[in-house]
Assembly symmetry: C2
Homo-oligomer: 323 residues x 2
C-alpha cells in the first residue's frame, strides 16, 4: 500500500490469448519497492528504448479509458513486432495495482510499460534466452507524488516534425503511430518549449499538416464542430480525444477526423490539448490568443472521470478510407 505503487508483471502471462482465469492474482503481478533497483541494465527499455507504454489517470479508483489504452498498447505492439498483449491479464494486473494504492490524492497517474525484454545481443540476454526466460519485460506503476495533470490554460508553439504527411505508409520502420519508449525526441520538444517560454508544442508535417503534441492530442473547435487530425497520418489515436468526442456527440455537437492543415488549426475558435484522461484549454498558439471556457473544461473532465463518456468513446474513430 502506498502513494507510489510499482508492480513487476509476469511477462510470460501478459501476451497471447491464454485463458488466465485460473491463474492466481499473485502469479500475475508482484509489488516491489519503487525506490530499489528493479530493472536489469541489459533490458531493452534501458539500452534501446525498445518498448511501448500507455499512461492515464486513475480517478477515484477508475482507470480512465483503460480499454482504449490497452487496445492502443496492442496496436503499438503490432507496429513494433512485439507479441500480442493479453488484455484480460493486463486488466487484472492493473486492478491489483489500484487495490494497493491508498494515497488521499484522487487522481494519480498510471503507467504501463512493456519492453522487448533482455537484449538478445548481450550475454545476459543470451543466457536468459538459453534458460527459456526471454519474454518481454512488463511493469506498471501508480504515482501520486509526481507531476499530476492540471487544467490551467496552456500556451503552445507549433514545430515541424520533419516528415512529409505521406511518410507513414511509405516507411513503417519510422514507427509513426506507435507509442514507444524512445521518447528522447518528445523530451527535446518540451525543452525547446521551455526555451521559447511556452507550455507545450503542436507538431506539423513538412507539408503543413497538423500532427499531435509530444505527449498529447490536439482538438480544435469551430462553432459546434470538433476536429482532430486523422491518426492515419501517423500519430497516436488519442484516448482522451475520443472521450472528448464522445462528450461532444452526447451534447449534440459534431466531431470529425480529417487531414488538418496547421493554418486551419490556427483559425479554430478554441483549442484543446488532451491526454491522460484530461482536457486542458489552450490559450495561445504561436502568439495568437484563444478564448476558453473554464466551466466547459470542468464539465468535460467530470464527464470523462465519472465514466459517462467511457462506453461511447470505445466506438469512436475515423471512418472510411484515409484521404
Amino acid at each position: 500500500m502506498g502513494s507510489i505503487v510499482l508492480g513487476m508483471v509476469n511477462g510470460a502471462l501478459m501476451f497471447g490469448n491464454e485463458d488466465v482465469s485460473n491463474v492466481p492474482d499473485s502469479d500475475l503481478i508482484a509489488l516491489v519497492d519503487p525506490e530499489s533497483a528493479n530493472i536489469n541494465a541489459f533490458d531493452l527499455s534501458v539500452l534501446r528504448g525498445d518498448g511501448i507504454f500507455e499512461a492515464t489517470t486513475v480517478w477515484k479508483g477508475f482507470p480512465v479509458s483503460l480499454e482504449n489504452h490497452l487496445r492502443r498498447l496492442a496496436h503499438s505492439a503490432a507496429l513494433m513486432d512485439l507479441p500480442k498483449p493479453n488484455i484480460t491479464a493486463l486488466t487484472r494486473a492493473v486492478k491489483q495495482l489500484i487495490a494497493a494504492y491508498d494515497d488521499p490524492e484522487p487522481g494519480p497517474l498510471l503507467r504501463i510499460i512493456v519492453s522487448r525484454g533482455l537484449d538478445q545481443e548481450t550475454g545476459i540476454g543470451r543466457a536468459a534466452a538459453a534458460a527459456g526466460d526471454n519474454q518481454p519485460t512488463v511493469f506498471m506503476f501508480i504515482d501520486a507524488k509526481g507531476a499530476l495533470h492540471e487544467t490551467d490554460p496552456i500556451s503552445m508553439a507549433s514545430m515541424t516534425r520533419g516528415y512529409p504527411s505521406d511518410i507513414t505508409a511509405r516507411a513503417p520502420w519510422l514507427l509513426n503511430g506507435a507509442k514507444t519508449l524512445s521518447y528522447a525526441f518528445n523530451c527535446a520538444v518540451h525543452r525547446e518549449c521551455a526555451r521559447r517560454g511556452v507550455g507545450d508544442a503542436v507538431l506539423y508535417t513538412e507539408d503543413g499538416y497538423t500532427l499531435e503534441c509530444p505527449n498529447s492530442s490536439i482538438v480544435a473547435r469551430y462553432g459546434d464542430r470538433l476536429i482532430t487530425p486523422d491518426p492515419r497520418i501517423g500519430i497516436l489515436h488519442g484516448t482522451s480525444q475520443r472521450e472528448l468526442f464522445a462528450w461532444a456527440l452526447q451534447e449534440g455537437q459534431h466531431a470529425h477526423y480529417k487531414k488538418l492543415p496547421i493554418a486551419e488549426l490556427r483559425e479554430a475558435d478554441r483549442l484543446y490539448m488532451v491526454h491522460g484522461g484530461w482536457v486542458i484549454p489552450v490559450n495561445a498558439l504561436d502568439g495568437k490568443a484563444y478564448d476558453y471556457d473554464s466551466a466547459e473544461i470542468q464539465t468535460i473532465n467530470a464527464a470523462i472521470h465519472d465514466g459517462r463518456t467511457h462506453d461511447d468513446a470505445l466506438a469512436i474513430g475515423p471512418r472510411g478510407d484515409y484521404e
Copy 2:
C-alpha cells in the same frame, strides 16, 4: 573479474571539469552483478530513452577510438542539454572496467551509457532531487558473451529516413546527430532488414542524400578516394570511419566528406560499413553486387586495432563551411 563486467559509475563525478586526480578509483565506479537488477524503474533511460551512449571494441585491452567516442559522447550531451561529461573521469572508469575483464575473447564490446537520471516528473525522481541526489545515471559494461563484430561481407538495402537534408539546422529538437538511447527506430530498421533478407540498411533523406546505417557509418571507395557523408547533414560522426580515413591517408589514398547522393553511393567501386572499431565489407546494395578484398579489410582492421591509426584519427573531420 569476468566475461561480462558491469560498473555503476558515480554520476556526481562524471560531469563538469572537476579535477578527479585525488579521487580514489573506488569512488568512481562500483562493479556490480550484471545478472541482478541495477537500474531503478523510474530512471529516464527506462521510461523515456532519454540519454546517450557510446560503444566500441576493447581489443586486447585497448579501447578502440576511446577519445573520439568520449568526445562524441560530449557532443551528444550538448545536443541533449545534458551536463558536460568529464572525459578524464570517464576514461579512468573505463580503465578500471577493463582491468576487471578476464575472458579469453580478445575483442569484447564496451558500452558506456548516460541517462538524464531519475525522472523528475515522477515521485521517486522528485524525492531523490529533494535529497540532493538528481545527477545523471552512468553505467558501463564489457561483454564477451553477446554479439561480437564479424567481418563477413554484408548485404544492404537503402531506406528513407523520412527527413529532408536541410532539416537538422531547422529543427534541432529532432536530435539528429546525437547518439541517444531512443533506438526503437534503429531496431525497427534492423527488423525490416531481416524481413527483406539483407544484413543491414543505409538510410537516405527524402531528397536523396546518403545518411548512415542504423548503428554504423557508410564509406564508399572510388578508385583511391574514400567518401563518406558529411556528418553536418545530421548524422553521427563515425569513430571507426575516422580510423578508416586515417588508414587511407597513411597509405597515400584520399578521403573526403561530402553531401553524397544515394545514387552516387550506389556507383562506388567498393562500400564499407564501419562501427565499433571494425570495417566490414558490403557485398550488395539494393541487389547490386560489390567487389571486396578480404585482405584489405584484414589489413585495415589490424591497423585500427593495434593503434596505428589512432592519433591521426583524432584530427580527422569535415573542413570548411557545410555545403
